[in-house]
Symmetry: C2
Subunit: 261 residues, 2 copies
Amino acid sequence: MYADPAILDTELLNPPRPAVRSMAPAPAPSRRTREQVSAALELLGSHVKPTRRVVRAGETLFRAGETFQALYVMNSGFFKMVNLSLDGREQVVGLKFRGDWLGLDGIANGRHTSDAVALDVGEVWAIPYDELLAACTRQPALMSIVHDAMSREISRGRDSMMSVCTLPADARVADFLYNWSRAMGECGKRTDQIKLLMTRAEIGSYLGLKLETVSRALSRLTRERVIDVVDSDRREIRISRLESLAEFIGRCIAPENATLQ
Amino acid sequence: MYADPAILDTELLNPPRPAVRSMAPAPAPSRRTREQVSAALELLGSHVKPTRRVVRAGETLFRAGETFQALYVMNSGFFKMVNLSLDGREQVVGLKFRGDWLGLDGIANGRHTSDAVALDVGEVWAIPYDELLAACTRQPALMSIVHDAMSREISRGRDSMMSVCTLPADARVADFLYNWSRAMGECGKRTDQIKLLMTRAEIGSYLGLKLETVSRALSRLTRERVIDVVDSDRREIRISRLESLAEFIGRCIAPENATLQ
DNA sequence: CGGGCGTTTGAATCAAATCAATTGGAGTGG
DNA sequence: CCACTCCAATTGATTTGATTCAAACGCCCG
């Protein structure tokens, strides 16, 4: 994404690649469709009997430290995953949408390692882990679904890492909006107007920024007509064209090329 | 880790927790023993027939964009995972040690999303994914191993995120050394003297820092007698006491408390 | 011996954090 | 209804931690 053919493959950290490689098909953006998610949920519902649970905004599904015994699949709603280190540092380390699984990090540990906090009303399906394992051996398709979910979480984590480590503040916020909008698309919701369910502080936490920096970035995006803050409480954002967000990011990375050429 | 009872649970991003919660058992640090890893490898070897492959330093096991068809389990050696975005940003997004799995992010995609580059000679076991799936249905214990590996990768990714987003540069480098040393322990190697197999630039990339910043951090750690650069090519690091690294991190977070009290 | 690369270190610069003040709702209670 | 507080957000001024730019060193290798 945000392709800019000007700069490509610095070969800084990697052995030189074969020339063809730049021509290789773009790493597929791991897009899921609403239908795929629904199909997965359906399969799941028919092979295990998940306990449906409705959560309201602010409720906590589980907390770090609690013993792990069930996974949760989101049927609707939004969650943030919050990590707290022993020395008191706290961070939003992930955001979850429909079709995502919660609690995967607990499998290896026997304990959850973060808190799952609902950002809105939603429904999750609780699946005791041992039951899931049993069902997976009977139903290989189910196993694939679980693996896919875990794999996707790994990829997303890396993308976040990339964003945080290689993008300046403004671009990071733009990237955040871009991804949120895409996620809405995957849930079958509108992508051109999104409701941020977090405070600036929470967004900042997720992006490794302070709340003032997030606010300034949003102001700049508004000033440059990339977004509109449709208001009431400043959390409703209109995105005219999704590509303009990508372009904005490109401008942040390769500045002053606006005048160039 | 790096517990400092002074600051605890800011409740900034979270609903207030029940008071007992601070007393809950510390989130288990997901420690693996050398024996656990060996047992897993053994089970794996006896239920699928992995193709053993020896890689030499600098070799690439797979590249982003290649079609995914096999997973790789490390029996020895070290790998870095490198992501390259289309606009030319490049980053080391993960480090892998014995017992770790490579390529998990490809499952959901059908393509690998990063390059796996060996930092040293090592042996990996290649396991075609479809064979693994088949074996998992026959052998539930195998499935658990795979899930554990994925789960651990998810947790580790979040830990990295925490480190990058909430620690200042010096502490990040210290944390990096701490984790590397722990990882060596899990491989059954010495933890008090470690050989960094990366340049400062690579370490910086992994930590979201520039190479000069990494260098300065290492200098400071040396000056404060937390580490020794045992030299030749500056990559061999002696760590007298692992706890002093944790203490150093604590000092970075809560400065000037040295004089306080 | 000379060139290249990784590293260290200093000085200048810059992006983001910090500090601080103001606004504007939402909710409360008189 | 208005005065009140509380909290999220915005914006400006200032500071600071990390980057950038630059120079120099040591080491390996042809």
